[in-house]
Chain length 342, copies 4
């Protein structure tokens, strides 16, 4: 069931990507509208999303943000066709692929923004206050000279934002000496404020990323008991072969009966072997090696008992390593036979 | 009395917000001046602020910065009406709501700026020196070709600031080859300097915010009235004993009947004592000390009325502190007996 | 002797400031040239600097960078008078006041730049490479369409620098679709590189500043034995009164016979009391309190035996503190009498 | 042999630099094409690079990225001569001089980018999403008013990138009130995102540089040939024993006749063994092991031929390691006897 849903989701993801692509190129009138297949897809996807929408409303029985966005897009497409809002489905794309390794850092970033909202808000209030005061004073100084662009405080705020963010279009520039003096002081003092959110976010995001760490560090390899006897010279080779897998609490790593094509080493966290009397494995332990050696399917379901970072080693990579360093292989066989005889 | 003042302050805050809004929209001539109620409010608030100003002068008997700003705004409104300076009351807004949770990060930011003024000054002096030298040399190179915009060093400084801050309006651009070469070098070398204050501020502000959330700072201890009479030498010891507890709005801190094994001091935020007539305690207040002294269970439920940071002191740590500093114990007993006899 | 030199230096500093001010306003033709006194000063200072230059050449007998700059300025003023190079004396200003508290952070910044030159260089090489490649390719794409501004690689480098530094004057903008695509990619990828030096510098400078710390932290006060018995409530007041004094190794803090108008507490570092058998005082110790109590002049020279951070407390501030907290005064008297009886 | 290759490489590096210089100045038509020697060099270097290309294809027998770039440049020069692609050889320059001290920080930076690719990718996906949504909405608002520059989503993306990166050319600026409002919000919110990569990179790069200077990283140990055969489990132990020694160029590490109490491994840099025919040792080499084994004093003076980072291993620590891992000891003895018998 879960697998079907997953496939469905990926299918919807694909349709959304095509739709957004279609929206962009059709706006440019490049060639898209003329290609009948894209135009055909446009109508097909209205149908698909329409049916999906109705199904979800009946199943979920509550209106989520993403669902309302979908409603907005559909209603607009069917009834008005004035603005093409398909781009809004981008958010659903994030939702669909939120668990993919590719989007993990982006999700970390979004979480960081939410966590740091107070610090960000603090600097933004400062920023808006500076903007208000500066815009008001430049209005006093410039409005008589350039009434068309500095003629009201909302107008001068357009100048203020473009200046304080250092965008500086140059479409609106103070001309009086006093105006230039005020603008200079504003740039010198105010710009620091506007760069604050980026810097705060960067510090927090960097910390968060380091905590999760999508890298296999040499320290991590050196702390895995299984590798202790390999020579130092092999660290680089192992490093290339290990793939990082991050799993959240309660997530299933593999299920009983699944094909066994890789083994896992726990860098940090905890996993639960779902057998009669559940067993917990912790940092430094490895699992999934039994099936690998004997070509049997997984003989137990294993779930994460905590947010866990795993290092995955595929069958073929393991075979290659074992060939070069027979000692590694022997320990695995011993441990596997010991476990299976339990 | 304090409550009346608080309500008064919030009322003035509201009037200021309306006035600033009125100033902005009226400058744009959108609709504001035509709406009689806003115009009416304009005159009313002159009256209100006038009376308030006179009252405060008589009560406070000294001229603070905010008071002089108020005087400036009022005098200008009544006598000249040339420039509308109401925007300056923004600073009073910050003062009025400085204790609200919403402005806490902004105040932290302002304090950070004050603390880091030396580091910021250090980079600003560097910045101004670079600006002076670069502006002088570009003046030599460009003044003959573009005498109208590069005709004097103050003029070239306008170009210099717009360039070094990366605003780059483009209203003034060097045209000679040598001028462009100098400008290129300036951009490559000088921009780092101009981005320094933002980066410094960000590091310091981020640290400060993190500290505010998870540490007991010496500043926090020094601001707790309960500890005022303890000797400075005890700060380190108290610091070790206090545990930070962060509670979200509506969260229950303890319930009536719970075992009483610690007391709490509020660093910031607000808690609600859930008795017949609920009582609110704010920053600097402490609670939970009664059960501690008499071994009785908690006699009231206490919930957070805001996101609150508490400093927890366990029974045994309190006993230890009281033993060394009997004065501390006495005040607690007095306050506890006073409360319980209410 | 040292005092005379010091006064001389300050006098030259003043002349330089006036000269630079004169150069700037005279370039603008505001009013300066018309004011005979400034014009008079111009000729006077040529004389003064000329004599000083000759004296220094004879005394120092080697050509330093600052001396050659001075020569350059003088020769130009006397012989050619084409370019007004007085602005170059700005560097001498830094040299003269390098020990003043005001310029300390700026000097720290300069030292940080020198220390981090490798890291900065590393990113600048990257930056120049990106600039070269991007400028070459945009030259291919745009030179036929806009031969006047994209007509050669040096020309496109002007665009490249203005873009990659985010200055973006807008005087040169790609027009072809491919050119815009390349420019877009350049902005997305390359800008990170150009912001690197600022960020690196900021991290390093911030660290350096924190190490020196121009602040009196609560932690520092709480660790001074002298204040241990004061109540916590007094920390804020003491904090306001203490002034930070940073002295380098071998620097003299005060000399025997000087007027005694303040006492010092050592936050970190080491000082040497220059008596027959030199005594060293370290962090937490205080000195200079004897003269304060008895109105006698300093009875020993004290020099820094290491880079040292002192907290200075003036006579009047000490008197005020002693009045409120008599205990503080008593300990000082005891210690002073103990020392003097040695 | 290695020496010849090294000289060859440097010679090619020189030719590349001349070629790139020639390309830049010839594009500007300054004087280069007219100088027959540069033109002559142009043809000569085609010949040299052609021969070298053929040789390398035969020797290496696989097509690397750099080799294909070379092919691209050569084919283009000989057959089409439309675009001058010599600038692409810049990458080979990086490759040739990758081990020079001058390019070390740049290589560290490149490695940092590779390491942090996930974090950077995470923010870039965010950035592109914001760009897409903002560009679409500004297209709705501005396309009817300025159809020539806001007429399609790809067009508005040009505006979007120039704005969000704060380049702000000003060639395309929203004109409607709603468009300006959207642009203002975009600047306030979105700019933080675009500054993220720079800030992340800076933090990571700065850390990496600091590590390179003052720590023994696991990567460094893994790259020392001497340790290759030790088991991974020993890395931690070796790490504790190695002491970092930074020596500047020309500094003496030890002198002939000194007591021999430690050996050194070169992490980066170069040292000179001051014997009759001086020998140079480079990264990965070790020295000073002879005296250790035989209790003899140092038999040669060794100085740094470049800024060098050494890892020092004391006699007792080496003894301890050798005991646990006899293999290590054997190699040292062999190498020592081999050297002394020279």
């Amino acid at each position: 069931m879960k697998k079907i849903l997953d496939t469905c989701n990926k299918f919807f993801g694909l349709i959304i990507v095509i739709n957004i692509f279609h929206q962009i190129v059709s706006s440019a009138g490049y060639f898209a509208l003329e290609i009948p297949i894209l135009q055909f897809l446009y109508w097909i996807s209205i149908g698909i999303f329409g049916i999906e929408f109705i199904l979800r409303v009946f199943v979920e029985r509550r209106i989520s943000v993403l669902l309302s966005l979908d409603a907005l897009v559909l209603i607009n497409q069917v009834l008005f066709s004035v603005y093409d809002l398909r781009i809004l489905r981008l958010f659903r794309l994030f939702d669909i692929f939120s668990q993919s390794r590719f989007l993990l850092p982006t999700n970390t970033l979004i979480n960081t923004i939410i966590k740091q909202r107070n610090a960000l808000m603090g600097s933004q209030i400062m920023v808006l206050s500076i903007l208000l005061v500066v815009s008001t004073f430049i209005y006093f100084l410039e409005s008589s000279v350039q009434p068309d662009v500095f003629g009201s405080i909302p107008s001068t705020m357009w100048w203020g934002i473009a200046t304080l963010t250092t965008v500086g279009y140059g479409d609106v520039v103070p001309m009086t000496d006093l105006g230039k003096l005020l603008a200079s002081l504003t740039m010198l003092v105010g710009i620091g404020m506007f760069a604050l959110p980026a810097a705060i976010l960067a510090s927090a995001y960097y910390e968060e990323i380091q905590k999760k760490n999508f890298l296999v560090s040499f320290e991590a390899i050196a702390s895995v008991p299984l590798f202790q006897e390999l020579p130092i010279g092999a660290v680089g080779k192992i490093n290339e072969k290990l793939e990082v897998v991050l799993v959240s609490e309660h997530e299933t790593i593999f299920s009983k009966g699944d094909e066994a094509d890789s083994m896992f080493i726990i860098e940090y966290g905890k996993v639960k072997v779902e057998i009669e009397k559940p067993v917990y494995l912790v940092a430094g332990d490895y699992f999934g090696e039994m099936g690998l050696l004997g070509n049997a399917p997984r003989n137990a379901t294993i779930t994460a008992a905590d947010d866990t970072k795993l290092l995955e080693l595929t069958k073929s990579d393991l075979a290659e390593l074992s060939e070069e360093h027979p000692g590694l292989f022997k320990e695995l066989e011993l441990s596997a036979s010991a476990r299976s005889s339990d």
